[in-house]
Amino acid sequence: MTDRIQLGTMEQPQFSPAAMALVQKIIKRYPEGRHKSALLPILHIAQAEFGGWLSPSTMDYVASILNIKPIEVYEVASFYTMYNMRPVGKCVLEVCRTGPCALRGSDDIIEYLENKLGIKEGETTADGMFTLKAVECLASCGSAPMMQVGNHYIENLSVEKMDEVLDQLKTRHNVPNPDYGSPYPVSPENNG
């Protein structure tokens, strides 16, 4: 389940004051000296804030906030599937393909999306709009087939509905700062 660390350089990222306030609030949820516990939550915030993926400089930045070694961040980020180790499109389509979804047509959905978008599973469209991922069970088997897009589950999919779904997503995500989704949404209230 691991993915290679993408090499390359980016300018040093910096959390907004609101994001940093949320990060500090989360760190305090764990006992003194156990701040490394906040790593997974902070990586979610970092991914949502810095373009939907974790670049080496983003991971180094998170390491510096938690005062841990960069390798401690790399080894964790590459273990968990929710962290993108490569750049992604503005809208990431994560289609569930495990048993219960497969019984109700997830293969058709993936095949349709591959043909419609002209990419294979795991790839991003040339215009940088969509990334297509086939993922494992998202605990939505009662409303199969389904896919996750950011904070949302789009359920009871059918090939007939896909064009409309894609159009809506394109409208929503084709903006300068698309919402990649995070369990810990940064809101202005966090500031201060």
Binding site: R34, L40, E75, F79, M82, A139, S140, P183
Partner: protein
């Protein structure tokens, strides 16, 4: 209608809010426990209730609590396992999304019983939209004095936090979950020591499933003895079942344990029968890890008794002719389903989710995936079928955590009950080229045709 406890108020408008939940009798168990009971007496009631862990293993919750090292002067922790990832299971998600206060109330009384002053809900990260729902519920409970320092004027204090996973099935295993909560890769730990002695941050820790924890308030409200009267034998109480696959009404249902399987599948109160007017072929009753059973063994045990939705009845006959209640992830297959293809998707899942620590699991799951794919696409050999069974056998019992078993069991069971279908794939490669091979022409067992 069976008895409803967890979902009895699910249709009350506004039940997500503290105000309405409280009006419906919510948080009464916290008042009862903190004001009139000791932690030990709360544990006694849970023991008496016979409640068994609802995450999959079915281990008695009260007994698990009693293993917690109470002599240690270290802090104690309760972790709620909300990393629901077992394919076919979506009941905890439903409970947290629509009845968030049921989990918060359960966390408070359970933490009190264990003497934990800080507790965490470890939720799978993909449930991104449920985090704000639970955080809001926690804030509401705190504002009403049910969390924080000196709750309800007693000397008990509790802080409760929601923690996000990163997308890894293995973190549903309790020691992997603890590692993950410590900010590390989710590699399961060797046991012993058990978490009850050396858990989170090296401190005594209990990890319980969402549904188990949400059941505790009901046990305290009615008393453990009363709760034990619900259900059948050692399968006490009610259970949430996640029903999926080829049925008319997929969804989450609360059943009283002991309900006949046939009624659950065909009654309009539950699954509503098989979709598209088709016949049922097979069923996985407890999440993808448990053995698949053909219809005849699903509805009746090998002894010819009606199969019931209970821990004992579903496992009657052992793995030869039975399965397990597991997490209650109930997946139904109609006559057009291909068992080989389905087993392959599960093998792919376990290969993807293996943490990689133990070679039998890391390598074996990959081999099973490859061999199954070969057979499914018409490139298999007859010897591949026994090879699958052999690999499964060599994974089972040879790994640190139960993921190895969970990967081996579904493959072994599919070959055990549907070997003819595997042989068909090898014998007629042309006929299985189309991935939907049985949709046009369902597989018919020659053996059964001869017997009839």
């Amino acid at each position: 209608m069976g008895r409803k406890l967890l979902l009895k108020d699910i249709n009350v408008p506004g039940i997500k809010s503290f105000e309405v939940y409280r009006k419906m009798g919510g948080y009464a168990s916290v008042e009862k426990a903190l004001k009139t009971m000791t932690p030990d007496s709360v544990m006694e009631e849970v023991k008496k209730s016979g409640l068994r862990g609802r995450g999959g293993a079915g281990f008695p919750t009260g007994m698990k609590w009693s293993f917690l090292d109470r002599k240690s002067d270290k802090p104690r922790y309760l972790i709620c396992n909300a990393d629901e990832s077992e394919p076919g299971t979506f009941k905890d998600r439903f409970l947290m999304e629509y009845l968030p206060h049921a989990l918060i109330e359960g966390m408070i009384v359970s933490s009190f019983a264990l003497g934990a002053n800080t507790s965490y809900i470890y939720m799978r990260g993909e449930f991104r939209w449920i985090f704000p729902i639970l955080e809001k519920a926690i804030e509401e409970a705190r504002a009403a004095g049910f969390l924080g320092n000196n709750m309800l004027g007693t000397d008990y204090s509790l802080e409760l936090y929601v923690h996000s996973g990163g997308g890894a099935y293995i973190c549903g295993e309790e020691t992997a979950q603890i590692e993950s909560l410590e900010g590390k890769r989710g590699n399961p730990r060797n046991k012993p020591p058990f978490p009850a002695v050396v858990g989170l941050y090296g401190c005594p820790t209990v990890v319980n499933n969402v549904e188990s924890i949400a059941t505790v308030p009901h046990i305290l409200n009615m008393g453990g003895d009363e709760y034990a009267k619900i259900g059948i034998g050692k399968s006490t109480g009610t259970k949430l079942i996640s029903a999926s696959g080829h049925i008319n009404k997929p969804g989450v249902y609360e059943i009283e344990l002991g309900l006949p399987v046939e009624e659950f599948i065909y009654s309009d109160e539950y699954c509503g029968g098989i979709w598209k007017g088709r016949k049922m072929k097979a069923c996985v009753p407890g999440g993808s890890s448990v053995p698949i059973l053909p219809t005849e063994l699903m509805l009746k045990t090998a002894k010819g008794e009606p199969r019931l939705m209970s821990y004992e009845s579903l496992s009657d006959g052992g793995f030869a002719t039975g399965s397990m209640l597991g997490s209650g992830g109930f997946i139904v297959f109609d006559e057009t389903a291909c068992i080989v293809r389905n087993t392959w998707t599960y093998a792919r899942f376990y290969h993807h989710e293996s943490c990689g620590q133990c070679s039998p699991c890391r390598e074996g799951t990959g081999w099973m995936e490859k061999v199954l794919h070969r057979i499914e696409t018409g490139h298999g050999k007859m010897s591949d079928i026994d090879l699958l069974v052999d690999v499964a056998k060599k994974i089972e019992g040879n790994t640190i955590c139960p993921l190895g078993d969970a990967a081996a069991w579904p493959v072994a069971a599919a070959v055990r009950h549907f070997r003819e279908e595997f042989e068909y794939h090898v014998r007629y490669p042309e006929k299985v080229k189309d991935p939907k091979h049985f949709e046009k022409e369902p597989f018919v067992s020659e053996k059964k045709a001869v017997a009839a």
